[in-house]
């Protein structure tokens, strides 16, 4: 085998292993609104309900994102696993930072202004955070595509 053949094969390997992650770029238009509504409902459930009703509502709130993941997996022609291309790590960090930001913001507003304001603030913060994460991911996916072109 010649070295250029080995190099070509490794390039094809990188392109193939990145394919499912690149397919993942972009999300439905309703997703930020959906996640925002979910987050706002979560805060309302925590703040307004108690006892068995709260437990039931929490179960439903936990089931909702799991159902979304199952639906998303079933409709896609490919689903990623394993290590992602290194360019996409930035979007993973963005997701962590945005999630932490909302997790800190929500209880702060709750204690300062009450449950309804906290729910609205959480919903209004989550929706653009999801949109921003999607845009960062799409931008990073573009960098991967250019590298592997």
């Amino acid at each position: 085998m010649e070295s250029h053949e080995a190099r070509d094969q490794l390039h094809e390997i990188e392109r193939g292993e990145a394919a499912s992650w690149l397919h993942f770029a972009g999300h439905e238009r309703w997703l930020p609104l959906g996640f925002g509504t979910w987050a706002g409902t979560f805060v309302l459930t925590m703040g307004l309900l108690d006892g068995a009703l709260r437990s039931l509502a929490m179960l439903a709130l936990i089931a909702a994102p799991l159902a979304y993941v199952a639906w998303d997996r079933a409709r896609r022609p490919v689903y990623p696993q394993g290590p992602m291309p290194h360019e996409l790590r930035r979007s993973s960090w963005a997701l962590v930072v945005l999630s932490l930001g909302i997790a800190l913001l929500s209880p702060s507003v709750y204690f300062a202004a009450g449950v309804w304001v906290a729910a609205a603030t959480t919903a209004l913060a989550t929706a653009p955070a999801v949109e921003l994460y999607g845009r960062i991911y799409a931008s990073d996916a573009g960098r991967v595509r250019r590298r592997l072109a």
Binding site: M1, E2, S3, H4, E5, A6, R7, D8, Q9, L10, E12, I13, E14, R15, G16, E17, A18, A19, S20, W21, H23, R73, P77, V78, Y79, P80, Q81, G82
Partner: protein, 101 residues
């Protein structure tokens, strides 16, 4: 400038995966839980029959499993790497890296 490579790393190269299209299929499956026929055809830019042929070779080698759901035009054919397929693919990838190091 290309140079010939040699050494024991060549032993790690898998003859089944030396074909670029088969290697590309396994590379997609390495990064995926599964991949559908249409996705692979588009990624590899090959015809239906070519992809079927390469897939059948990999299936015969025990490197992937093919599952079909539904019938006719709406039916889906899905590919998934087997444990043996992933192991062979990783050996091949490692051998290529060793060759170039």
């Amino acid at each position: 400038m290309s140079r010939p490579v040699n050494g024991s790393a060549l032993d790690g190269l898998d003859p089944v995966l030396n074909a670029p299209k088969r290697l590309a299929i396994m590379a997609v499956l390495e990064g995926s839980q599964f991949a559908e026929f249409g996705f692979l055809r588009e990624h590899l830019a090959v015809s239906d029959s070519d992809l079927s042929k390469q897939g059948a070779t990999l299936e015969a080698a025990g490197y992937l499993s093919i599952s079909k759901s539904g019938r006719g035009r709406g039916g889906m054919t899905s590919y998934q790497a087997t444990r043996a397929g992933k192991a062979a693919y990783r050996r091949h990838r490692e051998a290529l890296r060793t060759l170039l190091s």
